[in-house]
């Protein structure tokens, strides 16, 4: 997988559970276990991030690049006061004294919209609601004014109203600070509404990446296309059947040499089972990895063939469906 992110931009990474979104984030954050095999390169503002990791760089992660985790209920240490958890970053990276760091922590809580920050710094995580905890986590991540914030499903564990407020907060902070963000989510609606670019992951690969608008309006990869179609739409009559993707994601242990999505794909042809499709348009504004991209003549032909036969090359039974 290859992607670039400009300063101040927000990249969305979407995909099902197990598609490799979080592993990507952890690889960027140098959080993978020691046993992980890593290759490839990450360049951050011209610096090779893996060389920084090898050199034991102390003030890179947490200062220039930080991360917010999915579950605010578990990502705060239950036995430390919220203020201390924010302050320790400032003390370690920026060398603040205890008092100055606590003062800065209070200010940070205020910036992320925590009411009564002076009281909250002295409270333990269990005394706060989920939404407030996620704000504390965000304050913690923002403490050293990072250039890049990776948010791994930051709103999955909080309820819908809190979700919107957290996303609004992240948006405004990003704009204020010119910070770049990677937003990992499985919520296509969130990706569509918030991100400049979106990358779709499937079975550990980016199968399609482009600007948000292009991706949703002119999807090329059948997986993206199917995902977009499966979003419930408000103009549909109520109780309309959703359009799910048949099957389940592949096992990634020893996968066959073929397009990983082929068994579930309505466009699948013989060549999809023979080789892994290369990524087209790398480095350009729209890249995708498919032999028979959707919404192209090749794709339409493949789909028409499969519909006529009633079965795809991978053996998936399909019936004719009205396309939009």
């Amino acid at each position: 997988m290859t992607f670039t992110l400009e300063q101040g931009e927000m990249l969305g990474i979407v995909g099902e559970s197990g598609s490799g979104k979080s592993v990507t984030a952890k690889a960027l954050m140098n959080l993978l276990p020691r046993t992980a095999e890593i290759d490839g390169r990450v360049r951050f503002d011209g610096e090779d991030v893996r060389a920084l990791a090898a050199a034991g760089s102390r003030h890179f992660w947490g200062v220039r690049m930080t991360m917010v985790f999915q579950d605010p209920m578990t990502s705060l240490n239950p036995v430390k006061k919220c203020g201390e958890q924010i302050a320790e970053t400032l003390r370690y990276h920026l060398g603040h004294g205890r008092v100055a760091a606590m003062k800065a922590a209070t200010d940070l809580l205020e910036q992320v919209g925590v009411p009564e920050p002076g009281r909250r710094v002295n409270q333990y995580p269990h005394q706060l609601s989920g939404g407030l905890r996620q704000r504390v986590v965000i304050a913690m991540a923002l403490a050293c004014e990072p250039d890049l914030l990776i948010a791994d499903e930051p709103t999955t564990a909080v309820d819908v109203t809190v979700q919107k407020r957290i996303l609004d907060l992240l948006d405004s902070l990003r704009k204020e600070r010119g910070m770049s963000m990677i937003l990992i989510t499985h919520d296509l609606g969130v990706a569509r509404g918030r991100c400049d670019d979106v990358a779709v992951m499937y079975a550990g690969r980016i199968v399609e990446r482009s600007s948000t608008e292009t991706l949703f309006d002119r999807s090329r990869h059948p997986y993206t296309d199917a995902l977009v179609r499966s979003i419930p739409r408000i103009e549909q009559p109520s109780h309309a059947r959703l359009d799910p993707i048949p099957g389940r994601p592949p096992e990634l242990i020893d996968p066959p040499v073929q397009c990983a999505f082929a068994p579930r794909c309505r466009y699948a042809q013989a060549d999809c089972l023979e080789s892994v499709p290369p990524t087209e348009g790398v480095g350009e504004s729209h890249e995708f990895a498919c032999h028979h991209p959707a919404n192209t003549p090749r794709g339409r032909e493949a789909l028409a063939n499969n519909v006529a036969a009633g079965v795809t090359a991978a053996g998936l039974q399909i019936s004719y469906r009205k396309t939009r």
């Binding site: 985790f69 578990t74 036995v79 333990y124 269990h126 403490a143």
Partner: protein, 336 residues
């Protein structure tokens, strides 16, 4: 907090009543206190003597009368004519005032004096053993978790199980022989003349007593730490760029201490039992040796007082452990 203290006090009272009553009645039913005080004279049928019916086989009636006076005196002093329950209640009220009576064996010596003399050495030994145990177990537990499932951890695991498997008496004898008698690094007998001599002369006994404890604590801490290190907040701390050392000691250690302190409390009982053996091997004039002697001689007041104090210590230490839970985890504090 107040309700916790009150409920613990109630628990302490209940435990003490149960333990002392059991010990008191067992000793009175299974043994004959009179025999332990006056010896064979206890066999004398003094009712018959007072009626002038039996003359002693070996001495005159007068001498036998004197013997009976001794028996009567002993019965009066130790209230042996009273029913069991009443004697228990009398003992209870006396000991609540700190008066544990006098020893049967060493005549007229108050039990509290004996205990005051014997307890310090034992307490020092036990504290020393715990200090050694925790001093070894915490760094080694942290190191084992840090290198989990790799060679250092595996070696530590083998060593721990070894230490757990060796009984105190075997380890005690070996250490005494090798480091005390052969190498002469440590004195082989207890010397309380100064803090320094005490520290060196109690080192081998404390190590004997503490090594098994250390091994148990190390295993528990290592396992709990490995679990804690997989928590999200540890990943979060790592994402904040905190060092391994900081994460280990400032984030992971405290929430991982629960099992260790729980076992710390429960092990107090085993520690007292272990101290008894170790005191025998190293000839430390502690309460363990005193109690063994007292049990063998059926010296009831001494045994009862020892049991009472040990039971109290057990309950108090476990209460302290409960307070520690609250200190370790604010969520526990919120509930109590």
């Amino acid at each position: 907090m107040r309700s916790l203290v009150l409920s613990r006090l109630a628990q302490l009272v209940l435990v003490l009543l149960a333990v002392t009553f059991l010990a008191f009645s067992a000793m009175n039913v299974l043994g004959d206190p009179l025999f332990n005080i006056v010896g064979p004279l206890a066999e004398l049928d003094c009712d018959a003597v007072s009626r002038g019916e039996i003359a002693s086989t070996s001495s005159s009636l007068d001498a036998t009368r004197t013997d009976c006076e001794i028996v009567a005196e002993a019965k009066a002093e130790f209230r042996l004519d009273e029913p069991l329950m009443k004697r228990y209640v009398l003992w209870l009220t006396d000991s609540a005032r700190g008066d544990f009576g006098t020893s049967f064996a060493s005549e007229g010596v108050p039990v509290s004096d004996i205990l005051k003399e014997k307890f310090p050495a034992s307490i020092k030994l036990m504290i020393y053993a715990e200090v050694i145990a925790l001093g070894l177990a915490i760094p080694l537990g942290v190191y084992g978790a840090y290198r989990a499932n790799r060679r250092p951890d595996r070696i530590l695991s083998v060593v721990s199980f070894g230490a757990l498997a060796i009984p105190n008496f075997a380890l005690g004898v070996v250490l005494l022989y090798v480091f005390g008698l052969k190498a002469g690094i440590f004195p082989s007998s207890y010397d309380s003349s100064s803090f320094r001599t005490e520290l060196t002369s109690l080192f081998l006994p404390a190590l004997t007593l503490g090594s098994g404890l250390a091994a148990g604590y190390q295993r528990l801490l290592r396992t709990d730490l490995v679990t804690t290190l997989q928590e999200d907040f540890v990943h979060m701390a790592r994402a904040k760029g905190m060092t391994d050392r900081h994460i280990m000691f400032r984030h992971a250690l405290r929430p991982s201490l629960f099992s260790v302190i729980t076992v710390f409390g429960i092990q107090t009982g085993a520690l007292i039992g272990g101290a008894l053996v170790v005191e025998q091997i190293y000839l430390i004039p502690g309460v363990g040796r005193e109690l063994v002697t007292a049990v063998v001689r059926d010296d009831f007041p001494v045994v009862l007082a020892g049991v009472t104090i040990i039971a109290t210590a057990f309950v108090v230490i476990n209460f302290a452990v409960d307070l520690l839970y609250g200190w370790l985890d604010p969520r526990v504090r919120a509930k109590s």
